[in-house]
Amino acid sequence: MATVNDPLQKESTDEQAGQEKPHQRYVLEETGFNEVPKKYRKFYRRFGGEGDSLAPNEVQCPVCMVIVRSSRNLRQGDRVYCMPCFSRLVVVMVNDRLEAHPVY
């Protein structure tokens, strides 16, 4: 499982993700993001605008545009939480790119 406090709240199964590769781990460092309680801050960063490419462990929240970061790479079907705007998101593959869609 992902680390405690990680926004990745429920991992997809290999079948949902359509792949069997093991998850890759990422060491997260502070990004200067200060819009959530301290212990959660390294899991988020501000979007840098056009040209800001996302890492395999990142996905953009479509509600508040903040980048959500996990300590593991994200896969289709993963459930993540965007704390800055309280949105529950599901990771989906669109045009070979991972996107997050809100779940109400």
Partner: protein, 298 residues
């Protein structure tokens, strides 16, 4: 559902906002930061800053009235708690933008007459449409109007003003940075709470969509007014602040270089951005965006 609503706690708000990005700020900016001299010494720039800030104060007063009014008609305590924090956010916004008017030289006794003089009548009508729903105790329509339409507009307006201010007025850019962080929570509450509620009240959709259409009309009319007859003011502003040439990307916002853009282009990029956001956000919660007739500048 219980987990979703339990996120709306006062404790989370305390740790995120006053103990987070507002820590060590005064009226939303770093202590000691002041309005640039150009905004105080040049009559054209000063009046333009007062006019813009007046719209922000009026918009935030509407948001304060709406968020506080919605507390009593919220159907659950988690929503009441969230709206209580939003009420304080909005009161803070009213205060910091009012303080900016004082910093620009407006006297306390002249505050209301200044707001009356520079306030855009279309923005007042925009607020009236929303507050009518709130006064009736209509929680679903009130949250759509407040947290999706009004906050969605504010989100884009603040981002655009921040892009413009980044190099010319760091005090204002810092103030806006905090308000944008607040808006993230507000639009998030609007989408998540109403996204969950609207499926229970599908019969409300036509009425809510009409409210969105009316509010959008008055918003676009406000933008049209704000950017009409602005060419000379913009030219003077760029002459004094030393801009008027592309700054290499610092003020590029949604593809438009705001350091050289004409007023018509600025109005178009702002309106297009807000409307695109409306369509996407409303669509996600099951509402269909309604296009209003094209307004004309007053």
């Amino acid at each position: 559902m219980s987990n979703f609503l339990s996120a709306y706690s006062i404790q989370t708000w305390l740790e995120s906002c006053p103990q987070g990005y507002l820590m060590d700020t005064e009226y939303g900016h770093a202590p000691g930061e002041e309005e640039p001299d150009a905004f105080l010494d040049n009559d054209v720039l000063r009046e333009d800053a007062i006019r813009t800030t007046t719209q922000l104060v009026l918009g935030e007063r509407c948001a304060l009235a709406a968020s506080s009014g919605l507390i009593n008609c919220a159907p659950d305590y988690a929503s009441k708690h969230f709206l209580a924090t939003q009420t304080l956010d909005e009161a803070r916004h009213v205060e910091i933008f009012t303080q900016r008017l004082y910093d620009l030289g407006i006297k306390d006794d002249d505050l209301e007459s200044t707001l009356q003089q520079y306030g855009n009548p279309n923005l007042v009508k925009f607020a009236e449409v929303l507050l009518e729903k709130v006064d009736k105790g209509d929680f679903v329509a009130g949250v759509v109007g407040q947290n999706i339409v009004l906050e969605g507009m504010a989100f884009s307006v603040f981002e655009m003003l921040q892009a413009i201010s980044q190099t010319s007025n760091t005090k204002l850019a810092h103030i806006l940075s905090g308000t944008i962080a607040d808006e993230r929570r507000h639009v998030g509450f609007g989408e998540n709470r109403i996204g969950a509620l609207i499926t229970q009240y599908p019969n409300r959709k036509p009425e809510i969509e009409q409210m969105q259409k009316d509010m959008t009309y008055h918003m676009l009319a406000t933008f049209a007014d704000s950017f009409s007859d602005r060419a000379e003011t913009l030219e003077e502003s760029r002459r004094i602040l030393g801009s008027g040439e592309s700054d290499g990307g610092a003020a590029v916002w949604h593809g438009a270089d705001l350091s050289v853009a004409e007023p018509e282009e600025m109005e178009k990029v702002l309106a297009d951005t807000v409307l695109k956001e409306f369509k996407v956000r409303l669509g996600r919660i099951g509402l269909e965006y309604q296009s209003p007739p094209k307004p004309k500048a007053a």
